[in-house]
Assembly symmetry: C2
Homo-oligomer: 234 residues x 2
DNA sequence: TCACAAACGAGAGCACTGCTCTCGCGGATA
DNA sequence: TATCCGCGAGAGCAGTGCTCTCGTTTGTGA
C-alpha cells in the first residue's frame, strides 16, 4: 500500500474506481452501446466534464472496464480451479489431487457462469471491438489468464500431441517460450482449439445464436465441454 | 417479377436497396458503431428525414444489413460446396463425388474467407448484438444456412453418433424434426460443437484475440478445421 | 383523362451525445 | 505562509437519432 505518493493520488484512484463502478452499473442496464458518460456523471451527481479528469475519453473508460472484466473472469476461473484442487468441488478424488479432467470441466463451467452473470461485461471483451481499437498492450496480460490456466491444466494432464505444420509449429513454439509452457506445440494447438470452442459456445449462447436449437444451453454446454476435454485427451 | 403490385413499389424497393448499399459502404470504413443515418443521407444527397420513409429506425437499417449479411455468408458457403461437388475444388476425387471431408473443409474455409473479407458485416452478425434486440423472426431463417449446410455434409458423411443426456436429446430431436435432418441427435450434437468452434476461431481471429499467439491465423485455422472434421468423424 | 389521395423529400427542431475550454475555488506543496 | 496545481462547474460546439410539419410530386382508381 501507499507505494505511490500522496494522499491526493489515493483520492484520485478512489474516484476513478467509483466512476468505473457506476459505469459498470449502467452497463448491466444499458449495455455497452448505451453507456453514456453524461448519464454516469449524472448518477454520480457531478458535471460531465469532471469525468474527463479521470478518463480522457469514453473509449478509455471502456478500456478500463475491459481490463477489469478480463481480470474478474480470470479470477473466477482460477478460483474454481483452486476450489476443486482443494477437494471442495464435485467429483474430486477425496484422497488426493483432483483429476485434470475435473479441473478442466470446472474451469469451463466457471467461465460460462461468469459470462452468464456478467453478460454485458462479456460482450465488452468478446463481442465486436467497440472502440476504434482497444489498446492492445494493457489488455493482453489480463486476457491471457483463462487460456494460461487451461494450458496449465492440460500440462498436468499430459495431453496428447498432434502433428502440426511448420508455420503453426513455429508460431506456437514462440508462445511456449514466452510463457514458459511445458507442452509440445501440437498439444498446445489442441488446447487452443478447445479454448476457441469454449468461447464459441458461450458467445453463441449469450448472443442468441442458439435460440432455435439448444437454448437453454446448459445441457449443450456440458456436452461440448466434455467433448473438448476428450478432444484434448483429458 | 412484379409479383407485388405497382411500379411505385419497385421504385421504393430500389431506393431502399441504394440506402442499404451506401450504408454497407459506410460500414466498411466506420464499422457498425460509427454508422450514422445522417452521414448516409449526406452521401446520398438527401435529407436525413427521408431515410425514415424506408427504415423506421437506425436499428431497422442494421437489421436489414444483418439479414443480407447472413444471406451473403450462406451463399458463399453454399457456393464453395457446390463448386467442390462439381470437382472444381482442390483434392476432389475426379472420378466421382467429392468426399464429405473435403466438402466440410471447403465450407469452413469459405466461411472464414468471407468473414475476413467482410469483417464489419461479420461483426454485425456474430459480434455483440448492437441494437436493443435484433428482431428474431426475420433473422433466423438466413442465419441457419451455414449450420444447415454443415449438417447436410455431415449426413452425407455418416458421422459418428454420441451418447447424450436426456435434456439435450429432446432439444435436438425437435430441431431434427423441424428441419428434416437425417442424423441421430448425438451426431448433430457433435456437428454443433464443430459449428461453435468454427465461429469461435473466426471471431477470435477477427476480434484480435489471437494476436499474441496464432496471428496471422491461417495455419491455426486450417489445423482447427481439420481437427473438427476429425472430431465429427469425417 | 382527370381529380384525389397517398407517398415523398426538405427543413426545422428536440433531446441527447462526446468532448473542449475557461473560470474560479481550495487543499497540498515548497 | 505564499503559491501552484488539481479539481469541479458551466457554457458551448459539432454531431447524433428521431419527429413533425409543410409543400410537392406522382401513381392510380374512377
Amino acid at each position: 500500500m501507499n507505494a505511490g505518493r500522496t494522499a491526493r493520488d489515493r483520492a484520485r484512484a478512489e474516484v476513478a474506481q467509483e466512476i468505473k463502478d457506476e459505469a459498470r452499473r449502467h452497463l448491466v442496464t444499458e449495455g455497452a452501446h448505451g453507456l453514456s458518460l453524461r448519464a454516469v456523471s449524472r448518477s454520480l451527481g457531478v458535471a460531465s466534464s469532471a469525468l474527463y479528469r479521470y478518463f480522457p475519453s469514453r473509449d478509455d473508460l471502456l478500456t478500463a472496464l475491459i481490463i477489469d472484466a478480463y481480470d474478474a473472469m480470470g479470477a473466477a476461473a482460477e478460483h474454481a480451479d483452486s476450489e476443486i484442487r482443494k477437494g471442495r468441488g464435485k467429483s474430486a478424488d477425496s484422497t488426493g489431487e483432483a483429476e485434470p479432467r475435473d479441473r478442466w470441466l470446472a474451469v469451463c463451467r466457471a467461465v460460462r457462469t461468469w459470462a452468464v452473470n456478467h453478460r454485458h461485461e462479456y460482450e465488452l471483451i468478446y463481442g465486436s471491438p467497440v472502440p476504434g481499437y482497444e489498446a492492445p498492450k494493457d489488455t493482453v496480460a489480463p486476457a491471457t489468464r483463462v487460456p494460461l490456466l487451461l494450458t496449465a491444466i492440460a500440462t498436468a494432464g499430459k495431453v496428447e500431441d498432434s502433428s502440426i505444420g511448420h508455420g503453426l509449429r513455429s508460431q506456437l513454439s514462440s508462445v511456449i517460450g514466452m510463457n514458459s509452457i511445458d507442452l509440445p506445440p501440437g498439444a498446445l494447438a489442441r488446447v487452443m482449439v478447445a479454448w476457441t470452442q469454449l468461447f464459441g459456445v458461450i458467445s453463441f449462447e449469450l448472443f442468441g445464436q442458439l435460440v432455435g436449437s439448444a437454448d437453454p444451453a446448459d445441457d449443450f454446454f456440458d456436452f461440448s465441454a466434455a467433448a473438448m476435454a476428450d478432444f484434448v485427451g483429458l
